[in-house]
């Protein structure tokens, strides 16, 4: 009996039925016995399976042992039991009918299901053995196992579970042998013989397939995991053997690429691999793009403009607020959640699954290079070592595995991608539906909710334009709130300058600087608040009307028009004293200065806006002097005498001219709110 599954029957076990003299009766008896053996062993097999399952496993299950992998140990033994029970019934039926031909037919009927069920069990048997071994080392678990065995199957000499677990592995290999025995006792040439022979080869084939499947599983499990090795690990792995291996492979690969050696062409595999690579890159790309999309969605939901209500309690602002609030709080979070479940998660899982095949594809190439190498040697030397044979088989196994499974992988992956895309569509549709559902409610309350779109946009445009005009008037209004009177004292030099400006340009060209100006360009002036300048041009050389050319009483240059205020020498009220603005929009309101209630002082109209008044009475003592009455307004003609001394001023008063002491003069402002006073 083969204990190790590697010792499964090879495909050709048909023994020629030439055992000596064909004694028909003996033959028939032997045949009968062989059939009986088949049936009885099957019955006992089923019985043991039953024990294993319902007693042993159930007992262990009840114990609820942690760290105990029942699934790993027992695999799909239920299926085997179920199958074998049916098979046994079939066997008993054929025996009853005494029609041996039916036996062959029965095997044919069951062969497919047997292969399917046994291959799973056999492929995981190795793993089960490892588990048994590891549990044996654990004294606590071992005790539990022994306890169970003693409780359930005391009559057997089983020392551990493997006694039972190995049974299916053994059984499947037995079928060809048992059948063979029946066959050799069947007269050749009969239809029964034919049927049985077919059954034997079918069972042999089944065993071969199970073997192949097992090998592929082993190879897959060995190579399909990505190895996350550090550099240190990789270096540790280097030894002469591995280096030699890799060198050989590399040189072979180079020879491939250079065309020195022909590659083993496998069109079928190449197409599959190409398709697989496309699938892999699609999945990877899609996953990355979906991640990026989700990040953008998050970023989109961060700013909450609808929270800025501008203190508007009702009206469209509220409608918008409600709509946006609902979207932020309910609709988009739902969208995100569904996106995660129906698109992102599946993509992540699919992406993980790419690793196995990718590793196997890589490994296949390595093994292919080995294979070709060994193949060459084989044709030279005639034979190869056991290890080399094994290496060749590994390549063949990987190749066969990939060829067998990649088509399915590719197909299912593409289907899943399709499902994901479909979900993405539906999610958008539902999102839109949700938004519209809420928006319709708010739309109804909007004043122009029912207006058709083109008309609505036109209306909005017109309204905004009018509103813009209204804003401009507000701006105007605020700008014409006049700058304050500049209450700095003017130096005598400044006064003189003002006089000269007036005489050069006229009193209506005077402007006062309302705040400090610092020139930045070449021709810009730097001026202090309160200085007086005369306007030369309302525009600069480039046509910019916000830069004016002025005479600052010496230097000439540009100042910003916004910082100038008309400085009117005329007493009478000036309507429309506008600060210079950029636009020529007609003011809706003209700001006028508040007119003073004081009666106007008697001054000549051409005097500058400051007014000199006699502070004290003065009696002229010479023809050069002139008398003053306190409070009398005078016109200063020259604020100094002939020798240049400023103690005396030449004034005109009451039609007379003459000198008076400068200290007797005081300067007072006229009614315009620009004025200053000499320091007292």
């Amino acid at each position: 009996l083969a204990e190790h599954p590697a010792g499964m029957a090879s495909p050709h076990t048909e023994e020629p039925p030439t055992k000596g003299t064909a004694d028909p009766d003996r033959m028939e008896l032997s045949q009968r016995l062989a059939v009986e053996e088949l049936i009885t062993t099957e019955a006992s097999y089923v019985h043991n399976l039953q024990l294993c399952l319902s007693d042993i496993r159930a007992h262990l299950q009840q114990k609820q042992l942690p760290d105990f992998d029942l699934e790993g140990l027992f695999s799909n033994i239920d299926d085997i039991l179920h199958l074998s029970r049916q098979f046994l019934r079939g066997l008993e039926a054929t025996a009853a009918q005494e029609h041996d031909q039916l036996l062959g037919t029965l095997f044919q009927e069951f062969k497919e299901e047997m292969e399917t069920v046994y291959k799973i069990y056999c492929a995981s048997y190795e793993h089960a053995l490892l588990l048994v071994e590891s549990y044996r080392k654990d004294p606590r678990l071992q005790e539990e196992i022994m306890d169970t065995l003693n409780a359930t199957v005391p009559h057997t000499s089983a020392s551990d579970l493997s006694f039972f677990l190995v049974m299916p592995v053994q059984r499947i290999t037995k079928y060809p042998l048992l059948l063979g025995k029946i066959l050799e006792n069947t007269p050749a040439g009969t239809s029964t013989h034919q049927a049985l022979a077919a059954a034997v080869s079918a069972m042999a084939q089944a065993n071969a397939n199970i073997n192949e499947y097992k090998r592929q599983r082993e190879v897959a499990t060995k190579y399909n995991k990505a190895e996350h090795l550090t550099l240190r690990d990789r270096l540790a792995r280097l030894n002469t053997h591995s280096i030699a291996k890799k060198t050989t492979r590399l040189s072979r690969l180079l020879m491939h690429e250079a065309g020195f050696v022909s590659k083993t062409e496998d069109k079928e595999y190449d197409n599959l691999e190409e398709k697989f690579q496309s699938v892999a890159s699609s999945v990877a790309g899609l996953k990355e793009n979906v991640a990026s999309y989700m990040a953008h969605l998050e970023a989109f939901l961060v700013p909450a403009p609808h929270k800025r209500e501008l203190q508007m309690e009702e009206g469209p602002a509220q409608q918008y607020h409600r709509l946006a609030e609902h979207l932020h709080r309910a609709v988009f979070p739902e969208f995100k959640r569904r996106l995660d479940r129906l698109v992102w998660q599946p993509l992540c899982s699919l992406s993980e699954m790419l690793v196995g095949p990718q590793q196997l594809v890589k490994k296949r190439l390595d093994k292919l290079l080995d294979y070709e190498e060994i193949q060459e040697r084989k044709s030279e030397l005639g034979s190869v070592t056991y290890d080399e044979e094994a290496a060749m088989n590994t390549y063949l196994a990987i190749n066969a595995l990939l060829v067998a499974e990649l088509p399915r992988f590719n197909q299912v992956a593409v289907q899943l991608l399709g499902q994901v895309l479909g979900s993405l569509c539906v999610l958008h549709q539902d999102l839109a539906a949700e938004v519209l559902h809420e928006a319709e409610k708010e739309l109804k309350q909007l004043p122009h909710g029912h207006m058709p779109l083109p008309a609505f946009w036109r209306l909005v445009e017109d309204t905004l334009q009018q509103a813009g005009a209204q804003l401009r008037t507000f701006t105007q209004a605020f700008e014409t709130v006049t700058p304050g009177p500049v209450t700095q004292p003017l130096t005598p030099a400044e006064e003189r300058k003002v006089l000269s400006l007036v005489s050069k340009h006229g009193p209506d060209k005077l402007y006062q600087v309302t705040s400090n100006v610092s020139g930045s360009k070449d021709l810009d002036l730097t001026l202090q608040r309160g200085q007086i300048v005369a306007l030369l041009q309302r525009v600069d050389t480039k046509g910019n009307t916000s830069r004016w050319l002025v005479d600052a009483g010496g230097p000439r240059g540009f100042v910003p028009a916004a910082k100038l205020q008309p400085y009117s020498p005329v007493q009478s009220q000036q309507p429309g004293m506008q600060t210079p603005t950029l636009e020529s929009v007609p003011d809706r309101r003209r700001h006028s200065y508040a007119s003073p209630e004081a009666p106007r002082p008697q001054v000549a109209t051409f005097t500058p806006a400051f007014q000199v008044v006699a502070g004290f009475s003065f009696a002229a003592r010479s023809p050069q002097e002139v008398s003053l009455q306190a409070g009398q307004p005078v016109v200063v003609l020259e604020p100094h005498d002939k020798k240049g001394s400023t103690e005396w001023s030449l004034v005109e008063v009451n039609g007379q001219r003459g000198y008076v002491p400068s200290s007797y003069l005081v300067t007072v402002p006229v009614q315009e709110p620009m004025g200053w006073s000499l320091p007292v």
């Binding site: 897959a220 496309s278 890159s281 790309g285 793009n289 999309y293 970023a299 700013p303 403009p305 501008l310 203190q311 009206g315 409608q319 709509l323 569904r338 479940r341 699919l350 699954m353 196995g356 196997l360 499974e405 299912v412 593409v414 289907q415 399709g418 994901v420 479909g422 993405l424 569509c425 999102l431 839109a432 938004v435 519209l436 928006a439 909007l446 909710g449 209306l459 909005v460 509103a467 813009g468 701006t475 209004a477 304050g484 009177p485 209450t487 003073p596 004081a598 002082p601 008044v613 006699a614 502070g615 009475s617 003065f618 409070g631 307004p633 002491p661 402002p669 009614q671 006073s677 007292v680």
Partner: protein, 277 residues
């Protein structure tokens, strides 16, 4: 050598009898520059503060709203572009050449995404025109307002200063020079006072008007916001509705979809080439 006249009688300009400024004769010295009397009544000042305060808050809110709107529309555009990338990257993958069914699906999906992107662009343009631009214009009034308030404040300071000067002279012994100076001081004070009152009045009138103008001003903007969304999502609903009918099974619940996905994943997991962990 000049000697001053002993007495220089006040004459010339008539001093207006200013009823508001009645200096109280106090012997307690006070800080130079601060008038004794409260120039601006507390209620008026309070009103002014309140109105200006509201406007300052409004300025802050409009600025923030503008910023948030900009951020929101920028993020919206980016999101739409990344959605288009999903479909166009898939379309350019060789898988589409190898799988005709897949190609058809991805092409339809890509068309839909691109159309949505252009509608999104339109939506954002509309918002730019009807919301962000008006916000900017509205905000641009505030500098002028703030400047005007500052000027009023300057005037007020000047007013207070001149007022206290007048009060100072009014307390002194009424000699000739003092009277002259008093007259002069009063002459200086009057236009400043009037100017302040004018400014104050004007601002007190204009500020509430401006504040309440926001309601009508922003109505179209908010309506537009709602309307623009409706337009965009209506398109989205139609486009993706058609697309779903074309490439997907409508009517599936989320659970059903999840189960279908899980089924495919299980099929894949069952393969030996797929590593299980």
């Amino acid at each position: 050598m000049l000697s001053r006249a002993q007495e220089a009688p006040l004459q010339g300009t008539e001093l207006p009898a200013d009823p508001e400024v009645v200096p109280a004769v106090r012997w307690i010295p006070f800080k130079i520059g601060q008038p004794k009397k409260q120039i601006v009544p507390k209620t008026v000042e309070r009103d002014f503060e309140r109105e200006y305060g509201k406007l300052q808050q409004l300025e802050d809110q409009t600025k923030k709203l503008q910023k948030d709107m900009k951020k929101s529309t920028d993020a919206d555009l980016a999101m739409s572009k990344s959605a288009v990338k999903i479909s166009s990257d898939l379309l350019s993958n060789p898988l589409c050449e190898q799988e005709p069914g897949f190609l058809e699906m991805v092409t339809a999906f890509d068309t839909a995404m691109k159309r949505m992107d252009s509608f999104n662009q339109e939506k954002v343009n509309q918002i730019q025109k009807t919301v962000i631009e008006p916000l900017k214009k509205f905000s641009s009034v505030f500098p002028s307002l703030n400047m005007a308030v500052k000027r009023r404040e300057q005037t007020l300071q000047d007013y207070k200063r001149l007022q206290s000067k007048v009060e100072k002279y009014e307390e002194k012994e009424r000699t000739g020079p003092v009277l002259a100076k008093l007259h002069q001081a009063r002459e200086e004070l009057r236009p400043v006072k009037e100017d302040f009152e004018a400014k104050n009045k004007q601002l007190l009138e204009e500020m509430p008007k401006f504040y309440s103008s926001r309601i009508d001003y922003f109505k179209p903007s908010f309506e537009s916001l709602v309307r623009a969304q409706v337009v965009y999502y209506t398109e989205m609903h139609k486009i993706f509705g058609d697309l779903t009918a074309q490439i997907d099974q409508p009517g599936l619940s989320d659970e059903q979809r999840e189960r279908e996905n899980e089924a495919k994943l299980s099929e894949l997991r069952a393969l030996s080439i797929v590593a299980d962990d």
